[in-house]
Symmetry: C2
Subunit: 619 residues, 2 copies
């Protein structure tokens, strides 16, 4: 047993007793004081500077090399080189402390520790000498100090890195992505390190620009997906890609140009150079990720709807034509199946769906309603083919959720609607449709079986009966008159209700079937998370009233915003969570609904416009 | 213990007793009968066809999928699927046997087993179904069956592979490089698989075109290194790269264009499409490999002569502008130090220098003489700075070893010379210089201390004395008169002998010092291998006479041809040996001669033109 000795760290004033000979860096770690040591205590980065306030500490060769004579004269030494002996007191300046950042994740409330896959490490490497004949790259790798490190294999990298090391006289910043050195820059550029997280939605693309060292979100930019000109939904884009010459390449070019515009906008907003973006992380449904990478979405266009790839992809950003640093990477999160893509994995990641004990359900309603159920360590996923009704398509007065779209409907003594941005009503969007259906159902204007018109003649108040025109398949109800709208009336037809029934039935059946597979009933659901724009705008009570959502108490329903986009940000900022997302994607049990016995019966049952418990139970 | 059963393989007629249930493929392996199974017995490649001659073997699902109904009717089955039960007899057709090729390596006499890093595997993958929803790429990877397999991350690869799988209806050929799938082609292209091994010499570039599946060398092409226009030797090219604008890029372009010409020539010779070349393996000194990759050879131009990289490099061939398959790889062998490059590792690999028990020495004489000594499991390497004398430069009548160069010299009653290609003598090349020096030394025209002229007046026969002109530093000896040459006379001057002394002294001192470091003496040398063109043409007796080589018995001296180029071919054809070369490169002990105490004394001593034992001993 060696003698013990005491070290005190200022200005914190903490003292620790350690064995003689322990390094000062290790002693600090014992009491949870994080001193920066990107080189791992290898005496190559010179970052772990402390000032000796009391005690004797002669500078060794490494310290003489890495510290200026001025710094040495002021008493600065390297914590990794100092050995505790006698009682010593050191001052740890702010610039030597590591930043362990926790960032709060929007809409989720959880915090993550910032530990990005891409990081910059400034190095002061020893120059070659007859006693140290290692090649420049061996020197570099040893300086970074992590084991299993490799170099990028691009000749451009080799040329630029070799040149930078020599021109900067062995004072360089290494850009490390996971365990690969992807760039070497002259001098200390460690402050210029950004990443972008992108959600490529079928209708909207959102880009978040993030400072990687702190996790701070410095800008957000969004744009409609310009691929829409070749089809509103996934299936029509797949058809375009398959049927048109260069269809895939043309769709890829559209999304690439949109991404470059967003990069430009976000960088301008934040005063960041695009060249300082080192990684982009993408989520999106399988069709969007295939098209972004230029992979023909062939298999997604025919049964059994199999993607070309599901696992995560790393590709050089330059090969995608992204105008960020030429050595930057693009990362696409894992998907699960043809119609349960990387966006769903993003939702799972953002909500940590797997972490809780309770039975949790996440639903992302769009053209496809992706449903994930977490229960007792298992994750099950399915996709309900809702069709585009909730996005306003195939509905006679339907429109996307933009200015002038009816988004809420209330019926008391009159039909009261609100519109997005308060503009004159031009049509109805998904949340308005669900609201309208719930209110018309309550008032008896529409029946649970989807029939439009009163259950029996005279059952409606006269003012309301007047709004219903025609009969049977030709019936319609006028929500807003031509006079009120100042243009065309906004109506819902019997056919619109049929579309709604198909859409809600698909989602409800997916939820019900997954719950049944876990052996759970509706009552067991501890939390029902609504992801995506639709989930944010929908009125949960209305969704419950028509049985779009399973019958859980209102307080257990929680909209979680653009969880897919948040998932992309989490993957950008946390290496461990990114890895976990890949494992989870592999572990999720995908349920192909069409192949499940009894699915179509359940679907038919759940097409009723009524709270689900009345007609079906999971389990 | 299960029951045993017997299987007989025809036409070989071998019978083996195995446990019931053993696969036929495994049973064949037991008796050393190699049935092709590139998918590893995974029932995806369909290559292991055997015909059942006796016994019952109903085709299973996999066999029904992979074999045509005609094949099934003829009794063909898959050896990986058949289970031994009852006594069975199978016929193994020629096309189901794997080719375990042994190729003899030129100049070395050793054989290697063909096991290239790049291989093609034809696959018949099952099509997706509702019961099998794996993505196309998961299906592909499972079909190849090797564990730890990954896909190339280039978006071009992803696009092309996805397209090929769908267009060829899941009948594709995977191109696998080590454990990465680098391409997927439609249908069965497994026959079209070539590689090229290249020795980039400072003066000559040689390319060997090789069929990877058999190891067969189908063409050889060579060209002078066009970089020579910017400097004959390594140092002047480093200077050019450092001092000229785009110097490195211009030198890289010259070698790239030369390589593309060689590829074109070799492919034309062999009737092979350049597109069917999937890997190129390169050796060369550090300057050549840096320039080939476009890496500035900065560090090689100043003490302590450290390269930017020493370890092996894999880069995409397309990024180097090589006109072979766009998805092909280029591999550069590991180097050891600034002046002991990948060419020396090639020599070590070609000669298996590490494998023998005896003390073996390999010497590659060029501008630098690289020396490697293998002894008791250790490998030591050094570079003797011989200068360009052996390549004919800095010698007054010196010239490269081309037509008209004097390559042998004999002195009896006259000075008899031969020239390369029998052309009229225009000058003298390295081997001629060594020969001339040995003969002039024997006749007393030159003295061991390098002085030109007889030891004492009248010591020479009159006819020979007439050939010596001038005195002291101004002296010269005429080997060929103007009359004989039909042009200028070919002379050697006192200054030429000084150059020769410096050159031979550097090589001899390097050998001597490395031997000393292993504790061995000259007598212990069991084999002295001479690599490179110079080693092929030099007369060993003459090299011994002037002490260029250490005093070992003549029969222990063995020229081994272009061993560096052979090493490149070995690395191209053998994955295990390539891996071993990388390990060996790391394990070689590099000796920096300038830093060795006593080196300069030894160098001065060994400058004498005399057999080495007279003046120095290793050990």
């Amino acid at each position: 047993m060696r003698d013990s000795t005491r070290v005190t760290f200022l200005p914190d004033g903490q003292t620790i007793e350690v064995e003689e000979g322990t390094s000062v860096l290790a002693a600090a770690a014992h009491i949870g004081l994080a001193i920066a040591s990107p080189c791992g205590g290898n005496a190559t980065c010179g970052r772990c500077q402390v000032r000796v306030e009391q005690g004797i500490w002669e500078p060794n060769q490494a310290e003489q090399r890495l510290l200026t004579s001025e710094e040495l004269a002021q008493g600065f030494r390297l914590a990794c080189q100092g050995r505790c002996s006698g009682d010593i007191v050191v001052f740890v300046p702010e610039f030597s402390r590591t930043a362990i950042h926790q960032i709060a994740v929007e809409g989720i409330g959880a915090e993550i520790e910032v530990d990005p896959a891409v990081r910059k490490i400034f190095l002061r490497l020893p120059a070659p000498s007859v006693q140290d004949l290692r090649s420049d790259f061996s020197r570099l790798l040893a300086g970074i100090g992590s084991p299993d490190l490799s170099l990028d294999s691009d000749p451009g990298f080799l040329r630029e890195a070799a040149t930078a090391i020599r021109r900067a006289n062995f004072r360089v910043t290494a850009v490390v992505a996971d365990s690969k050195v992807i760039a070497v820059e002259e001098g200390d550029t460690s402050a210029d390190c950004y990443g972008a997280a992108v959600d490529i939605g079928t209708s909207t693309i959102v880009l978040y620009l993030i400072r990687l060292s702190t996790g701070e979100r410095v800008a957000v930019a969004a744009t409609p997906n310009p691929q829409s000109r070749h089809g509103e939904d996934v299936i029509s884009r797949v058809q375009f890609a398959r049927s048109q010459p260069d269809g895939t390449a043309r769709l890829q070019a559209l999304v690439r140009d949109a991404l470059n515009r967003l990069i430009g906008q976000a960088c301008k907003q934040a005063g960041v150079l695009p060249n300082h973006i080192w990684e982009m992380v993408f989520v999106g449904n399988s069709c969007m990720t295939h098209l972004m990478l230029g992979v023909p979405p062939e298999g997604l266009g025919m049964a059994p709807y199999v993607p070309s790839f599901s696992c995560a992809q790393y590709v050089p950003a330059s090969a995608l034509g992204l105008r960020i640093n030429a050595r930057a990477r693009a990362y696409v999160l894992s998907g699960i199946a043809g119609f349960v893509g990387a966006d769903t994995v993003g939702v799972i990641l953002a909500t940590r769906l797997w972490q809780d004990d309770g039975l949790r359900v996440a639903v992302d309603i769009g053209t496809n309603g992706e449903v994930v159920v977490a229960s007792g360590g298992r994750l099950l996923a399915a996709s309900g083919a809702a069709g585009p009704a909730f996005e306003g398509a195939r509905i006679s007065s339907g429109m996307p959720a933009v200015a002038g779209a009816i988004d809420t409907v209330r019926i008391e003594d009159e039909i009261a609607v609100t519109t997005i941005a308060g503009a004159p009503p031009r049509g109805i969007c998904g949340s308005g449709l669900v609201d309208a259906a719930a209110e018309l159902l309550r008032m008896g204007v529409v029946q649970p079986d989807g029939r439009l018109g009163p259950a029996e003649p005279g059952a409606l108040p006269a003012w309301l009966a007047e709004r219903v025109h025609g009969k049977g398949a030709g019936a319609s109800v006028e929500l807003v008159s031509a006079k009120q709208s100042g243009g065309k009336p906004v109506k819902l037809t019997a056919r619109d209700f049929r579309e709604l029934q198909l859409a809600k039935g698909a989602i409800a059946a997916a939820i019900s079937l997954l719950l049944q597979k876990t052996g759970a009933s509706y009552d067991d659901v501890s939390e029902l998370l609504l992801a995506g724009a639709f989930g944010n705008y929908i009125r949960p009570a209305s969704a419950l009233a028509i049985g779009l959502l399973p019958p859980v108490p209102l307080e257990r329903i929680r909209p979680v915003g653009n969880a897919a986009g948040v998932g992309a940000q989490v993957a950008l900022l946390s290496r461990p969570l990114r890895r976990q997302a890949e494992e989870i994607a592999r572990a999720v049990e995908y349920v192909e609904l069409c192949d499940e016995p009894g699915f179509y019966d359940r679907f038919a049952e759940l097409m009723a416009l009524a709270p689900s418990q009345a007609v079906g139970r999971g389990g």
